[in-house]
Symmetry: C2
Subunit: 199 residues, 2 copies
DNA sequence: GCGGCTTGTTGACACACTGCCAACAAGCCG
DNA sequence: CGGCTTGTTGGCAGTGTGTCAACAAGCCGC
Protein backbone atom coordinates (compact mmCIF):
# COMPACT_ATOMS: atom_id res chain seq x y z
CA UNK A 1 0.00 0.00 0.00
CA UNK A 2 1.67 3.21 -1.25
CA UNK A 3 5.15 2.64 0.11
CA UNK A 4 6.05 6.27 -0.58
CA UNK A 5 9.81 5.88 -0.81
CA UNK A 6 10.24 9.62 -1.11
CA UNK A 7 12.20 11.91 1.11
CA UNK A 8 11.33 12.07 4.74
CA UNK A 9 8.32 14.29 5.08
CA UNK A 10 7.33 16.28 8.08
CA UNK A 11 3.69 15.98 9.10
CA UNK A 12 1.58 17.63 11.76
CA UNK A 13 1.74 15.56 14.93
CA UNK A 14 -1.98 14.81 14.89
CA UNK A 15 -1.91 13.77 11.25
CA UNK A 16 1.08 11.46 11.68
CA UNK A 17 -0.37 10.00 14.84
CA UNK A 18 -3.67 9.25 13.17
CA UNK A 19 -1.96 7.76 10.13
CA UNK A 20 0.01 5.34 12.30
CA UNK A 21 -3.09 4.55 14.33
CA UNK A 22 -5.08 3.63 11.22
CA UNK A 23 -2.37 1.24 10.07
CA UNK A 24 -2.31 -0.31 13.53
CA UNK A 25 -6.09 -0.74 13.52
CA UNK A 26 -5.90 -2.57 10.21
CA UNK A 27 -3.03 -4.85 11.23
CA UNK A 28 -4.34 -5.68 14.70
CA UNK A 29 -7.73 -6.35 13.15
CA UNK A 30 -6.24 -8.84 10.69
CA UNK A 31 -3.82 -10.63 12.99
CA UNK A 32 -3.54 -11.01 16.76
CA UNK A 33 -1.65 -8.85 19.22
CA UNK A 34 1.43 -11.05 19.40
CA UNK A 35 1.63 -11.51 15.64
CA UNK A 36 1.96 -7.79 14.95
CA UNK A 37 5.23 -6.10 15.84
CA UNK A 38 5.73 -2.38 16.18
CA UNK A 39 8.10 -2.79 13.26
CA UNK A 40 5.22 -4.04 11.12
CA UNK A 41 3.18 -1.00 12.03
CA UNK A 42 6.08 1.32 11.31
CA UNK A 43 6.79 -0.32 7.94
CA UNK A 44 3.12 -0.20 7.06
CA UNK A 45 3.09 3.52 7.76
CA UNK A 46 6.42 4.07 5.97
CA UNK A 47 8.00 5.36 9.13
CA UNK A 48 10.82 4.55 11.51
CA UNK A 49 9.96 2.17 14.29
CA UNK A 50 11.05 4.61 16.95
CA UNK A 51 8.39 7.05 15.83
CA UNK A 52 5.66 4.64 16.84
CA UNK A 53 7.07 4.59 20.34
CA UNK A 54 7.42 8.35 20.27
CA UNK A 55 3.71 8.85 19.63
CA UNK A 56 2.20 5.96 21.55
CA UNK A 57 4.84 5.19 24.14
CA UNK A 58 4.57 1.46 24.49
CA UNK A 59 3.21 -1.22 22.19
CA UNK A 60 0.46 -1.98 24.67
CA UNK A 61 -0.58 1.68 24.83
CA UNK A 62 -0.83 1.67 21.05
CA UNK A 63 -3.02 -1.42 21.26
CA UNK A 64 -5.23 0.26 23.86
CA UNK A 65 -5.88 3.14 21.46
CA UNK A 66 -6.58 0.63 18.70
CA UNK A 67 -9.28 -1.28 20.57
CA UNK A 68 -10.72 2.02 21.78
CA UNK A 69 -11.24 2.92 18.14
CA UNK A 70 -12.54 -0.52 17.19
CA UNK A 71 -15.03 -0.68 20.03
CA UNK A 72 -16.33 2.84 19.57
CA UNK A 73 -19.84 2.17 18.43
CA UNK A 74 -22.41 4.44 16.87
CA UNK A 75 -25.57 4.79 18.94
CA UNK A 76 -27.31 5.49 15.63
CA UNK A 77 -31.02 4.82 15.55
CA UNK A 78 -31.20 3.16 18.92
CA UNK A 79 -31.41 6.31 21.01
CA UNK A 80 -34.41 7.75 19.21
CA UNK A 81 -36.35 4.55 19.61
CA UNK A 82 -40.13 5.00 19.38
CA UNK A 83 -41.81 4.28 22.69
CA UNK A 84 -43.53 1.23 21.32
CA UNK A 85 -44.35 -1.87 23.32
CA UNK A 86 -41.58 -3.94 24.84
CA UNK A 87 -41.53 -6.67 22.21
CA UNK A 88 -40.87 -4.31 19.33
CA UNK A 89 -38.22 -2.50 21.35
CA UNK A 90 -36.42 -5.76 22.11
CA UNK A 91 -36.62 -6.48 18.42
CA UNK A 92 -35.06 -3.12 17.61
CA UNK A 93 -32.25 -3.73 20.11
CA UNK A 94 -31.37 -7.04 18.50
CA UNK A 95 -31.42 -5.47 15.06
CA UNK A 96 -29.20 -2.62 16.21
CA UNK A 97 -26.69 -4.92 17.82
CA UNK A 98 -26.47 -7.27 14.86
CA UNK A 99 -26.04 -4.33 12.51
CA UNK A 100 -23.22 -2.92 14.56
CA UNK A 101 -21.42 -6.24 14.88
CA UNK A 102 -21.85 -7.30 11.28
CA UNK A 103 -20.63 -3.95 10.03
CA UNK A 104 -17.30 -4.15 11.82
CA UNK A 105 -17.40 -7.95 11.85
CA UNK A 106 -13.88 -9.23 12.36
CA UNK A 107 -12.57 -6.02 13.87
CA UNK A 108 -15.25 -5.84 16.52
CA UNK A 109 -15.22 -9.48 17.48
CA UNK A 110 -11.45 -9.42 17.45
CA UNK A 111 -11.36 -6.46 19.77
CA UNK A 112 -14.09 -7.60 22.14
CA UNK A 113 -12.26 -10.86 22.67
CA UNK A 114 -9.10 -8.82 23.11
CA UNK A 115 -7.53 -10.24 19.94
CA UNK A 116 -4.61 -11.60 21.86
CA UNK A 117 -4.46 -9.90 25.20
CA UNK A 118 -7.31 -10.62 27.59
CA UNK A 119 -6.08 -10.92 31.13
CA UNK A 120 -4.07 -7.73 30.99
CA UNK A 121 -5.57 -5.29 33.47
CA UNK A 122 -5.47 -2.21 31.23
CA UNK A 123 -6.85 -4.03 28.20
CA UNK A 124 -9.63 -5.55 30.27
CA UNK A 125 -10.52 -2.12 31.59
CA UNK A 126 -10.92 -0.64 28.12
CA UNK A 127 -13.05 -3.57 26.98
CA UNK A 128 -15.09 -3.35 30.14
CA UNK A 129 -15.82 0.30 29.45
CA UNK A 130 -17.07 -0.56 25.97
CA UNK A 131 -19.31 -3.25 27.43
CA UNK A 132 -20.58 -0.70 29.94
CA UNK A 133 -21.63 1.62 27.15
CA UNK A 134 -23.43 -1.16 25.28
CA UNK A 135 -25.13 -2.25 28.51
CA UNK A 136 -26.32 1.30 29.14
CA UNK A 137 -27.79 1.45 25.65
CA UNK A 138 -29.66 -1.79 26.23
CA UNK A 139 -31.03 -0.66 29.60
CA UNK A 140 -32.25 2.72 28.40
CA UNK A 141 -33.74 1.13 25.30
CA UNK A 142 -35.88 -1.22 27.36
CA UNK A 143 -36.74 1.63 29.71
CA UNK A 144 -34.97 0.48 32.85
CA UNK A 145 -32.87 2.56 35.25
CA UNK A 146 -29.15 2.59 34.53
CA UNK A 147 -28.23 3.21 38.13
CA UNK A 148 -28.77 -0.17 39.75
CA UNK A 149 -25.56 -2.14 39.92
CA UNK A 150 -27.35 -5.46 39.64
CA UNK A 151 -29.37 -4.38 36.62
CA UNK A 152 -26.28 -3.01 34.98
CA UNK A 153 -24.43 -6.27 35.64
CA UNK A 154 -27.26 -8.26 34.07
CA UNK A 155 -27.19 -6.02 31.03
CA UNK A 156 -23.45 -6.64 30.80
CA UNK A 157 -24.16 -10.36 30.91
CA UNK A 158 -26.64 -9.92 28.10
CA UNK A 159 -23.99 -8.18 26.03
CA UNK A 160 -21.80 -11.19 26.69
CA UNK A 161 -24.55 -13.46 25.38
CA UNK A 162 -25.01 -11.26 22.34
CA UNK A 163 -21.29 -11.36 21.65
CA UNK A 164 -20.93 -15.13 21.91
CA UNK A 165 -24.06 -15.64 19.83
CA UNK A 166 -22.80 -13.27 17.16
CA UNK A 167 -19.58 -15.26 17.06
CA UNK A 168 -21.56 -18.44 16.34
CA UNK A 169 -23.15 -16.63 13.46
CA UNK A 170 -20.26 -14.67 11.94
CA UNK A 171 -17.21 -16.77 12.71
CA UNK A 172 -18.48 -20.35 12.88
CA UNK A 173 -21.50 -20.01 10.63
CA UNK A 174 -23.58 -22.47 12.63
CA UNK A 175 -26.43 -20.01 13.15
CA UNK A 176 -28.32 -17.79 10.75
CA UNK A 177 -28.94 -14.16 11.45
CA UNK A 178 -32.62 -14.93 11.92
CA UNK A 179 -31.85 -17.54 14.56
CA UNK A 180 -29.53 -15.18 16.40
CA UNK A 181 -32.15 -12.47 16.25
CA UNK A 182 -34.82 -14.76 17.66
CA UNK A 183 -32.52 -15.91 20.46
CA UNK A 184 -31.52 -12.39 21.48
CA UNK A 185 -35.07 -11.02 21.56
CA UNK A 186 -36.51 -13.99 23.43
CA UNK A 187 -33.82 -14.01 26.11
CA UNK A 188 -33.98 -10.25 26.53
CA UNK A 189 -37.72 -10.39 27.10
CA UNK A 190 -37.23 -13.17 29.62
CA UNK A 191 -34.66 -11.14 31.48
CA UNK A 192 -36.83 -8.05 31.61
CA UNK A 193 -39.95 -9.92 32.66
CA UNK A 194 -38.62 -12.53 35.06
CA UNK A 195 -35.08 -11.75 36.13
CA UNK A 196 -34.85 -7.99 36.35
CA UNK A 197 -37.85 -7.54 38.70
CA UNK A 198 -35.80 -9.17 41.47
CA UNK A 199 -33.21 -6.41 41.30
CA UNK B 1 7.99 -22.61 47.18
CA UNK B 2 10.68 -25.13 48.26
CA UNK B 3 13.55 -23.75 46.19
CA UNK B 4 15.44 -27.01 46.64
CA UNK B 5 18.97 -25.76 45.93
CA UNK B 6 20.31 -29.28 46.19
CA UNK B 7 22.17 -31.28 43.59
CA UNK B 8 20.57 -31.87 40.23
CA UNK B 9 18.15 -34.74 40.64
CA UNK B 10 17.02 -37.08 37.92
CA UNK B 11 13.26 -37.64 37.75
CA UNK B 12 11.06 -39.87 35.66
CA UNK B 13 10.03 -37.99 32.51
CA UNK B 14 6.35 -38.07 33.40
CA UNK B 15 7.02 -36.84 36.92
CA UNK B 16 9.24 -33.98 35.81
CA UNK B 17 6.83 -33.03 33.07
CA UNK B 18 3.91 -32.92 35.45
CA UNK B 19 5.89 -30.94 38.02
CA UNK B 20 6.73 -28.28 35.44
CA UNK B 21 3.15 -28.30 34.17
CA UNK B 22 1.75 -27.67 37.65
CA UNK B 23 4.04 -24.69 38.14
CA UNK B 24 2.97 -23.35 34.76
CA UNK B 25 -0.70 -23.75 35.65
CA UNK B 26 -0.20 -21.76 38.81
CA UNK B 27 1.80 -18.97 37.18
CA UNK B 28 -0.41 -18.61 34.10
CA UNK B 29 -3.42 -18.65 36.40
CA UNK B 30 -2.03 -15.79 38.48
CA UNK B 31 -0.67 -13.63 35.67
CA UNK B 32 -1.38 -13.42 31.96
CA UNK B 33 0.36 -15.21 29.11
CA UNK B 34 2.72 -12.40 28.22
CA UNK B 35 3.67 -11.71 31.85
CA UNK B 36 4.99 -15.21 32.42
CA UNK B 37 8.28 -16.17 30.79
CA UNK B 38 9.51 -19.71 30.34
CA UNK B 39 12.33 -18.61 32.63
CA UNK B 40 9.80 -17.91 35.38
CA UNK B 41 8.33 -21.38 34.97
CA UNK B 42 11.78 -22.96 34.99
CA UNK B 43 12.83 -21.02 38.09
CA UNK B 44 9.57 -21.90 39.81
CA UNK B 45 10.24 -25.56 39.16
CA UNK B 46 13.91 -25.27 40.12
CA UNK B 47 15.00 -26.36 36.70
CA UNK B 48 16.96 -25.08 33.72
CA UNK B 49 14.96 -23.11 31.20
CA UNK B 50 15.95 -25.38 28.35
CA UNK B 51 14.24 -28.28 30.06
CA UNK B 52 10.88 -26.58 29.70
CA UNK B 53 11.42 -26.40 25.95
CA UNK B 54 12.61 -30.00 25.96
CA UNK B 55 9.36 -31.26 27.43
CA UNK B 56 6.84 -28.89 25.91
CA UNK B 57 8.57 -27.68 22.79
CA UNK B 58 7.39 -24.13 22.51
CA UNK B 59 6.02 -21.69 25.05
CA UNK B 60 2.68 -21.69 23.28
CA UNK B 61 2.50 -25.49 23.36
CA UNK B 62 3.11 -25.33 27.09
CA UNK B 63 0.29 -22.83 27.40
CA UNK B 64 -2.01 -25.08 25.38
CA UNK B 65 -1.42 -27.90 27.85
CA UNK B 66 -2.02 -25.49 30.70
CA UNK B 67 -5.44 -24.34 29.53
CA UNK B 68 -6.32 -27.92 28.65
CA UNK B 69 -5.75 -28.75 32.31
CA UNK B 70 -7.60 -25.68 33.57
CA UNK B 71 -10.64 -26.23 31.39
CA UNK B 72 -10.92 -29.94 32.05
CA UNK B 73 -14.13 -30.08 33.97
CA UNK B 74 -15.68 -32.86 36.00
CA UNK B 75 -19.02 -34.05 34.64
CA UNK B 76 -19.72 -35.06 38.25
CA UNK B 77 -23.38 -35.26 39.20
CA UNK B 78 -24.71 -33.78 35.99
CA UNK B 79 -24.66 -36.95 33.92
CA UNK B 80 -26.73 -39.02 36.34
CA UNK B 81 -29.41 -36.40 36.49
CA UNK B 82 -32.81 -37.73 37.53
CA UNK B 83 -35.32 -37.49 34.70
CA UNK B 84 -37.35 -34.93 36.55
CA UNK B 85 -39.31 -32.14 34.93
CA UNK B 86 -37.53 -29.53 32.86
CA UNK B 87 -37.53 -26.78 35.47
CA UNK B 88 -35.67 -28.83 38.06
CA UNK B 89 -33.23 -30.03 35.44
CA UNK B 90 -32.45 -26.46 34.37
CA UNK B 91 -31.99 -25.70 38.04
CA UNK B 92 -29.53 -28.57 38.37
CA UNK B 93 -27.59 -27.38 35.31
CA UNK B 94 -27.17 -23.90 36.76
CA UNK B 95 -26.08 -25.36 40.09
CA UNK B 96 -23.59 -27.63 38.37
CA UNK B 97 -22.11 -24.84 36.29
CA UNK B 98 -21.78 -22.43 39.18
CA UNK B 99 -20.15 -25.11 41.31
CA UNK B 100 -17.60 -25.86 38.62
CA UNK B 101 -16.77 -22.22 37.99
CA UNK B 102 -16.62 -21.17 41.63
CA UNK B 103 -14.39 -24.12 42.49
CA UNK B 104 -11.70 -23.19 39.97
CA UNK B 105 -12.70 -19.52 40.05
CA UNK B 106 -9.80 -17.42 38.80
CA UNK B 107 -8.14 -20.29 36.95
CA UNK B 108 -11.25 -21.18 34.98
CA UNK B 109 -12.29 -17.64 34.13
CA UNK B 110 -8.70 -16.81 33.29
CA UNK B 111 -8.44 -19.77 30.94
CA UNK B 112 -11.82 -19.38 29.27
CA UNK B 113 -10.96 -15.80 28.39
CA UNK B 114 -7.59 -17.09 27.19
CA UNK B 115 -5.69 -15.22 29.93
CA UNK B 116 -3.70 -13.33 27.37
CA UNK B 117 -3.92 -15.07 24.04
CA UNK B 118 -7.32 -15.14 22.42
CA UNK B 119 -7.02 -14.68 18.69
CA UNK B 120 -4.35 -17.32 18.31
CA UNK B 121 -5.79 -20.13 16.20
CA UNK B 122 -4.48 -23.01 18.30
CA UNK B 123 -5.50 -21.43 21.58
CA UNK B 124 -8.96 -20.65 20.25
CA UNK B 125 -9.32 -24.25 19.12
CA UNK B 126 -8.56 -25.65 22.57
CA UNK B 127 -10.98 -23.23 24.22
CA UNK B 128 -13.59 -24.02 21.61
CA UNK B 129 -13.28 -27.73 22.38
CA UNK B 130 -13.86 -27.03 26.07
CA UNK B 131 -16.95 -25.00 25.23
CA UNK B 132 -18.13 -27.85 23.01
CA UNK B 133 -17.94 -30.26 25.91
CA UNK B 134 -19.86 -27.94 28.21
CA UNK B 135 -22.46 -27.36 25.49
CA UNK B 136 -22.89 -31.11 25.03
CA UNK B 137 -23.45 -31.50 28.76
CA UNK B 138 -26.11 -28.82 28.71
CA UNK B 139 -27.91 -30.32 25.71
CA UNK B 140 -27.99 -33.86 27.05
CA UNK B 141 -29.06 -32.57 30.46
CA UNK B 142 -32.12 -30.88 29.01
CA UNK B 143 -32.79 -33.91 26.86
CA UNK B 144 -32.10 -32.48 23.42
CA UNK B 145 -30.17 -34.07 20.55
CA UNK B 146 -26.49 -33.21 20.40
CA UNK B 147 -26.26 -33.69 16.67
CA UNK B 148 -27.94 -30.59 15.30
CA UNK B 149 -25.41 -27.90 14.47
CA UNK B 150 -27.83 -25.08 15.23
CA UNK B 151 -28.80 -26.53 18.60
CA UNK B 152 -25.20 -27.07 19.45
CA UNK B 153 -24.36 -23.50 18.48
CA UNK B 154 -27.15 -22.18 20.70
CA UNK B 155 -25.86 -24.27 23.58
CA UNK B 156 -22.42 -22.76 22.98
CA UNK B 157 -24.00 -19.32 23.15
CA UNK B 158 -25.60 -20.28 26.44
CA UNK B 159 -22.20 -21.27 27.80
CA UNK B 160 -21.01 -17.83 26.73
CA UNK B 161 -23.84 -16.26 28.69
CA UNK B 162 -23.04 -18.42 31.70
CA UNK B 163 -19.40 -17.41 31.51
CA UNK B 164 -20.01 -13.68 31.28
CA UNK B 165 -22.62 -13.87 34.04
CA UNK B 166 -20.25 -15.78 36.28
CA UNK B 167 -17.66 -13.08 35.70
CA UNK B 168 -20.11 -10.46 36.92
CA UNK B 169 -20.53 -12.52 40.05
CA UNK B 170 -16.98 -13.68 40.82
CA UNK B 171 -14.77 -10.95 39.42
CA UNK B 172 -16.86 -7.79 39.63
CA UNK B 173 -19.11 -8.75 42.51
CA UNK B 174 -22.12 -6.91 41.11
CA UNK B 175 -24.35 -10.00 41.19
CA UNK B 176 -25.07 -12.53 43.90
CA UNK B 177 -24.95 -16.23 43.27
CA UNK B 178 -28.73 -16.35 43.66
CA UNK B 179 -29.21 -13.71 40.99
CA UNK B 180 -26.88 -15.50 38.60
CA UNK B 181 -28.69 -18.75 39.27
CA UNK B 182 -32.07 -17.21 38.58
CA UNK B 183 -30.82 -15.63 35.36
CA UNK B 184 -29.28 -18.82 34.05
CA UNK B 185 -32.31 -20.99 34.74
CA UNK B 186 -34.81 -18.51 33.33
CA UNK B 187 -32.88 -17.94 30.10
CA UNK B 188 -32.24 -21.64 29.63
CA UNK B 189 -35.93 -22.39 29.94
CA UNK B 190 -36.71 -19.65 27.45
CA UNK B 191 -34.23 -21.07 24.99
CA UNK B 192 -35.57 -24.59 25.27
CA UNK B 193 -39.20 -23.53 25.03
CA UNK B 194 -39.11 -20.74 22.48
CA UNK B 195 -35.83 -20.70 20.57
CA UNK B 196 -34.79 -24.31 20.20
CA UNK B 197 -38.04 -25.50 18.59
CA UNK B 198 -37.14 -23.52 15.48
CA UNK B 199 -34.01 -25.55 14.97
C1' DG C 1 17.77 34.51 0.07
C1' DC C 2 20.32 33.20 4.19
C1' DG C 3 21.23 31.66 8.98
C1' DG C 4 19.16 29.99 13.05
C1' DC C 5 15.68 27.65 15.71
C1' DT C 6 12.02 24.46 16.68
C1' DT C 7 10.71 19.88 16.55
C1' DG C 8 9.27 15.91 13.73
C1' DT C 9 12.03 11.97 12.53
C1' DT C 10 15.64 8.66 12.28
C1' DG C 11 19.14 5.02 13.34
C1' DA C 12 21.54 2.53 16.72
C1' DC C 13 22.25 0.83 21.28
C1' DA C 14 21.12 -2.08 25.42
C1' DC C 15 18.17 -5.29 27.24
C1' DA C 16 14.79 -9.29 27.55
C1' DC C 17 12.97 -13.47 25.89
C1' DT C 18 12.61 -17.41 22.91
C1' DG C 19 14.21 -21.72 20.48
C1' DC C 20 18.02 -24.72 19.75
C1' DC C 21 21.88 -27.76 20.63
C1' DA C 22 26.17 -29.76 22.10
C1' DA C 23 28.17 -31.06 26.40
C1' DC C 24 27.58 -32.88 31.06
C1' DA C 25 26.42 -36.15 34.66
C1' DA C 26 22.90 -38.98 37.42
C1' DG C 27 21.47 -43.46 37.90
C1' DC C 28 21.20 -48.24 36.22
C1' DC C 29 23.23 -52.71 34.21
C1' DG C 30 26.82 -56.05 33.58
C1' DC D 1 33.78 -50.48 39.34
C1' DG D 2 33.34 -49.08 34.10
C1' DG D 3 30.19 -48.08 30.44
C1' DC D 4 25.85 -46.63 28.65
C1' DT D 5 21.43 -44.44 28.46
C1' DT D 6 19.18 -40.25 28.85
C1' DG D 7 17.55 -36.56 31.94
C1' DT D 8 19.57 -32.07 32.44
C1' DT D 9 22.29 -28.00 31.83
C1' DG D 10 24.42 -23.65 30.06
C1' DG D 11 25.37 -20.84 26.27
C1' DC D 12 24.54 -19.19 21.49
C1' DA D 13 21.88 -16.88 17.74
C1' DG D 14 17.81 -14.60 16.36
C1' DT D 15 13.96 -11.49 17.15
C1' DG D 16 11.31 -7.80 19.36
C1' DT D 17 11.02 -3.86 22.53
C1' DG D 18 12.10 0.77 24.71
C1' DT D 19 15.22 4.63 24.84
C1' DC D 20 17.99 8.31 23.31
C1' DA D 21 21.19 11.32 21.09
C1' DA D 22 21.74 13.07 16.57
C1' DC D 23 19.81 14.62 12.12
C1' DA D 24 17.10 17.55 9.11
C1' DA D 25 12.50 19.55 7.33
C1' DG D 26 10.10 23.62 7.47
C1' DC D 27 9.25 28.20 9.45
C1' DC D 28 10.95 32.67 11.32
C1' DG D 29 13.63 37.16 11.54
C1' DC D 30 16.76 39.73 9.04
Amino acid sequence: MSVDVGQRRRLEPDARREQILLVAVRLFGERGYADVSTGDVARGAGVARGLVNHYFGTKKELYLDVIRVMLTVPDSALTLLPPADLTTRADAIATWFLDVVSRHSTSWLGAITAGGMAGDDDVDRVISEAVDIAADRVLTAVGLPVRSRALHAMARSYVGLATSTAREWLQRGDLTRAQVHKLLTATLLTMVDQVFPDA
